[in-house]
């Protein structure tokens, strides 16, 4: 029998690995089948937990790659002010109750898939991957989960639907009536044979609906995550298609294919020759037939999973008069823009925020233009206007499109940031904005309040591996503050959240740091700051700063410098990152463990995430404003 010979072959292979995936013959009676399944797959299913949530997952390779839902791996996107944020402290718990720290290799919110990696001491048992294209409605299925690490749940049911599309997911999904709940979300859906058919997903957007993401989809994403850390969709932007049902077929006279609803003028799709009203009948030589929403999703999936940089060939039918003519279109696929509205390609669109102005902007993608009916002009979109802020006073609104600053066109976020930062650093009194609101062009101006104008702050920065340096630097410079970057080497690396880093020249060296020349000294944290812990010039500068009642700040590891420098600070409340707390305690400091701590003009923080850094900066600013001249 095929299964047996497969088993033998696998067993042979597995000798070296000591383990083999389990399979179950389908003829066994139901109860026994369930029990055997449970026993066999148990070791390959895990619980996934982090500080904010939890779920299940399953092991797909013996060296510790684990698949789960994207939302299970998602972190606090508010605190980190980034849709890309992943949970920081993820723990994976195996069926034998062993715990491992996991890191996120890649995650996506739609399709809701994530890939984690743990480092096991021994090779792990994996699941057998099935083929979701061959799943049939009515076949038996089992949902397996480990919600809190100690409780295993196995629920059974049948496959109710293999092409559900009404949940607005990127791909069609499988529906089962085996109970799916928050605990087994991220866990596997097994066939009777014990092969994984998909990832069970619960609570998309908290709606309490359960469905299963086909395993074929998950495997494609796994490959993307492993090669580049995110799901890179291919596209020939920008066109929108729809499926052709019977009614539409009667109206247009063509039954097979997808109808192009819209092509953005001037886009690659337009230049390649696609036009609204065209009917795509072939893609890369294969016929395109989409009479249902599910078939349409399949078409889109087939398009986006092609390699970026490759060629795509379409055959389209175009109506001229009463006749159809066939046209061949060819184009080079590029990387699709992120679509955060749908959770696709999570995190590539961050909001650029200016908290003191109360303004937040985001770039505009072709999809945003399509969804929100935005004109095709180079601009950035205003996504946040804080009430009562300077931006609100200028009567800008969320949804406005900024096309120019002081009559300089801003075509994208980078340009916008460059132009606005330049003016804020120069303490420009009024900054004029030209915005488009619908078809109206509105001219307004913001008058920023530079409350740190005239103040000087020394940022003590490690040459490499500084944390949150960009945020801190921008905070001061855009508030009119004069900042000196003080380091132990002539050049300092500023890493940006996007992964790009910049090297800038330090303004001064630590040896020459004169605390009296500043209103405040701030020691930036990060692993690199450990080198400063015993730096004599720095310790002396801290002592001087304390004596002169300057604002003294420290982020994370920087607090250890304070502890080392000034025993007189022993009665001041301080905090730092948890890992470094013992350094403070050893020196007899009052470690409070809070996120941000301020005691007079001493301000410290754990620096755990961006939100905490911003709260710290608000306190530090107050200290600077009160510092003695």
């Amino acid at each position: 029998m095929q299964t047996t010979s497969k088993r033998v072959a696998l067993l042979a292979l597995a000798l070296a690995l000591c383990l083999s995936p389990a399979t179950i013959p389908a003829q066994q009676p139901d109860e026994e089948a369930g029990a055997k399944l449970f026993a066999n797959v148990d070791p390959a299913v895990v619980a996934v937990q982090h500080e904010r949530a939890g779920g299940s997952g399953f092991i797909v390779s013996s060296d510790g790659y684990i698949i789960t839902n994207g939302h299970v791996a998602q972190g606090d996107i508010e605190a980190d002010e980034s849709p890309k944020a992943v949970a920081r402290r993820i723990t994976v718990i195996l069926s034998n109750e062993k715990r491992y720290k996991a890191r996120v290799i890649g995650h996506s919110l739609d399709p809701d898939v994530a890939l984690l990696k743990i480092e096991p001491e021994e090779p792990l048992q994996t699941v057998t991957i099935g083929n979701s294209d061959t799943v049939k409605p009515g076949q038996r299925s089992y949902a397996y989960g480990m919600p809190t690490g100690l409780k295993r749940t196995l629920t059974a049911g049948i496959v109710s639907n293999v092409e559900r599309t009404d949940l607005h997911t990127f791909t069609k999904v499988i529906q089962t009536d085996a109970a799916i709940n928050p605990g087994n979300s991220g866990g596997p859906l097994f066939s009777e044979k014990g092969e994984v058919l998909g990832i069970n997903t619960y609570g998309r957007g908290g709606e309490g609906l359960g469905f299963t993401i086909p395993i074929n989809v998950a495997m494609v994403l796994k490959d993307h995550f492993m090669s580049r850390g995110y799901f890179r969709r291919a596209a020939l932007p920008f066109f929108v298609t729809r499926y052709i049902d019977d009614e539409l077929a009667a109206a247009i006279g063509v039954g097979d294919g997808v109808l192009i609803d819209h092509v953005e003028a001037g886009s690659l799709a337009a230049t390649a020759g696609l036009a609204a009203g065209d009917i795509i009948t072939e893609m890369n030589g294969r016929p395109v037939v989409a009479k249902t929403e599910a078939a349409h999703r399949d078409f889109v999936w087939a398009l986006v999973t092609q390699p970026v940089g490759g060629q795509v060939k379409f055959k389209v039918l175009r109506k001229s008069g009463e006749q159809f003519s066939a046209v061949e279109i060819e184009g080079t696929l590029v990387e699709d823009e992120p679509a955060v509205e749908h959770g696709w390609q999570v995190g590539e669109i961050d909001e650029l925020r200016y908290d003191d102005l109360g303004l937040g902007v985001k770039p505009v993608t072709a999809l945003s233009r399509y969804l929100y009916g935005l004109p095709n002009v180079p601009c950035v979109r205003v996504t946040t206007v804080r009430s009562g802020s300077r931006t609100a006073k200028a009567e800008m609104r969320e949804g406005d499109l900024v096309v120019a600053l002081d009559d300089v066109n801003v075509g994208g976020v980078e340009e916008f940031r460059k132009e606005l930062d330049k003016r804020l650093i120069a303490c420009q009194q009024y900054i004029r904005f030209t915005v488009m609101r619908g078809n109206d062009v509105v001219r307004t101006a913001i008058k920023p309040y530079y409350d740190l104008k005239g103040k000087r702050v020394a940022l003590v920065v490690p040459p490499r591996d500084a944390e949150h340096l960009e945020t801190i630097l921008r905070f001061f410079t855009t508030n009119g503050c004069q900042v000196s970057i003080v380091s132990s080497e002539p050049k300092v690396v500023i890493g940006s959240e996007k992964g790009k880093s910049e090297e800038v020249a330090a303004d001064a060296q630590i040896d020459a740091l004169d605390a009296n020349a500043f209103d405040g000294v701030l020691i930036v944290g990060g692993k690199g700051a450990e080198a400063f812990w015993q730096q004599p010039a720095l310790l002396q500068a801290v002592k001087n700063a304390v004596a002169a009642k300057k604002a003294l700040g420290a982020v994370g590891t920087g607090a250890v410098v304070l502890a080392n420098a000034e025993p007189a600070l022993a009665d001041k409340k301080m905090t730092t990152a948890e890992e470094y707390s013992r350094h403070l305690l050893d020196k007899g400091m009052k470690f409070t463990g809070k996120d941000v701590e301020r005691d007079g003009n001493i301000v410290t923080t754990s620096g755990f995430d961006k939100r905490i850094i911003k709260a710290f900066l608000a306190q530090y600013r107050a200290a600077v404003l009160h510092a003695k001249e």
Binding site: R242, E247, D261, R369, G373, L374, G438, N439, V441, A445
Partner: protein, 464 residues
């Protein structure tokens, strides 16, 4: 069947009358007093008498709020609403204080002269809160007569008439009231009277028997605006409004204005005693005068604007004194130079409208006003002003998504481009000649194109 008789219940605000009557005890004066009261009672009764034949009892069963479960079952909450309906035009048309959605209605029943009838909702308007019903196979009804509700003054006497219900003694009740005050609200002008919460649909007549106000359940509204909406609803239903108010000519300049931002004024160095021109519509008096977007108005007819900020807007509005054919002069600041421009108010243009019955839409030409208000991408096409309920165009597709909605721009009908009203009408005529059962409509909606198929065989005004 219930026996109906008209019962006159008059609750005289006796205090008012007594104080107006002499209280000197004198037989002849008392007799005179009684005469006055009787005459008054008669006047009230006859005022009510005029409108009673037009008033009927309506009961609507609705279902609201569907909760969809995972398996697709919907649960409904049912309710029965009873109101008074008012006959407004031949053919069984009734005005009711119900702005319901067709999908929420289970059944509507009407009682006229002891007989029960079925009725359909033809139209409704959320803004005014009224709806138009049509009774199936109706008997002859007397259409109500509306008066000019602007004439109603505080202190006036009005009489409310409503159809109470279908209990044993079916009655048309009267509510006698005096007007305590008029309140302008965002939606409609409301009356405060000595009657609180008259039943929904109660119509109030003046002493001439003309309807001037109507109860919408939680408020009493003056009827002039309701009448305008009623006129539109009847027009959509293909009926002429017997009571049509001739619409007054609206004076129009073709410009929108806004206050000058403080910071912007400081940034550029502009005077704050001014008003900013935001939009200048094409082919408008303002455009003809040479006004442009971002012009700054500093004086009107030689008089300078003296206030700043939002108060400048108020001052400016008072200076406008809009009237058709009035000439107005603007002193404006543009790019550092001062200009004097003169414009003449015209009558507000009404864009051409067309009712495409077969499809079930009413379209208008695209004017600049709509181009701005709806942030349209294109001026080539016709704008959908309304989708006629129950028509092929009103049929929703999957998930309740509408095929065509108000605000869509039709650029192609079938294969025929429709860049303007004439071409659209041509295309519709061609469609009517054609025996096609489906038509492909190419729309521009929110700056992108979409294709929708209208099945011409569904919907329409069939009898149940």
């Amino acid at each position: 069947m219930e026996h109906r008789r008209a019962v006159v219940i008059v609750c005289l605000a006796a205090v008012c009358l007594c104080t107006s009557l002499s209280c000197k005890s004198s037989t002849s004066q008392e007799l005179d007093g009684a005469k006055v009261v009787r005459a008054f009672q008669g006047a009230v009764a006859s005022a009510a008498e005029k409108v009673k034949p037009s008033v009927v009892f309506v009961e609507a069963s609705t279902r609201a709020g569907a909760d969809e479960t995972e398996t697709g079952r919907r649960t409904y909450r049912s309710a029965t609403i009873s109101v008074t309906g008012l006959a407004v035009a031949d053919g069984g048309f009734l005005l009711v204080p119900l702005a319901l959605k067709p999908e929420n209605i289970e059944r509507i029943r009407v009682w006229i002269d002891e007989t029960e009838y079925e009725a359909n909702l033809r139209d409704s308007d959320e803004k005014t809160g009224v709806g138009l019903l049509q009774v199936q196979d109706p008997p002859q009804l007397v259409s109500a007569v509306f008066g000019d509700s602007r004439q109603v003054q505080v202190g006036d006497f009005i009489v409310g008439v409503n159809a109470s219900g279908k209990e044993q003694a079916f009655e048309k009740f009267l509510e006698f009231a005096s007007v305590k005050g008029k309140v302008q609200t965002a939606l409609l002008d409301e009356l405060r009277t000595t009657v609180s919460y008259p039943p929904g649909g109660t119509v109030f007549v003046n002493m001439n028997g003309e309807i001037v106000a109507m109860s919408l359940g939680n408020r009493i509204s003056l009827t002039n605006e309701i009448r305008e909406e009623l006129g539109r609803m009847l027009a959509r239903a293909g009926k002429e409004d017997p009571n049509l108010i001739t619409e007054k000519k609206k004076p129009w300049l073709g410009v929108t204005y806004a206050k000058l931002g403080d910071e912007y004024a400081d940034a550029v160095g502009l005077p704050k005693e001014s008003v900013l021109i935001q939009r200048v519509y094409r082919d408008s008096p303002a455009a003809q005068a040479g006004l442009q977007t971002h012009d700054l108005v500093t004086a009107v007819d030689g008089r300078k604007i003296t206030k700043k900020g939002p108060q400048a807007l108020g001052e400016f509005e008072k200076m406008l004194k809009p009237e058709v054919d009035r000439e107005i002069k603007f002193s404006i600041l543009r790019g550092g130079a001062t200009l004097e421009l003169a414009a003449k108010f015209q009558e507000e243009p009404k864009p051409r409208e067309f009712r495409a019955e077969k499809i079930g839409i009413i379209v208008t030409e695209i004017t600049d006003i709509q181009w701005y208000e709806k942030a349209l991408d294109t001026r080539e096409g016709v704008l959908v002003k309304q989708v006629i309920p129950g028509s092929p165009a009103a049929t929703s597709k999957q998930f309740g998504e509408k095929t065509i909605t108000e605000g869509n721009v039709i650029v192609k009908l079938g294969n025929v481009p429709t860049p303007n009203m004439d071409k659209f009408i041509e295309a519709v005529r061609a469609l009517e000649k054609d025996a096609a059962s489906v038509v492909l409509v190419t729309l521009a909606r929110e700056r992108h194109y979409a294709h929708e198929v209208i099945n011409l065989q569904i919907g329409g005004r069939g009898k149940k």
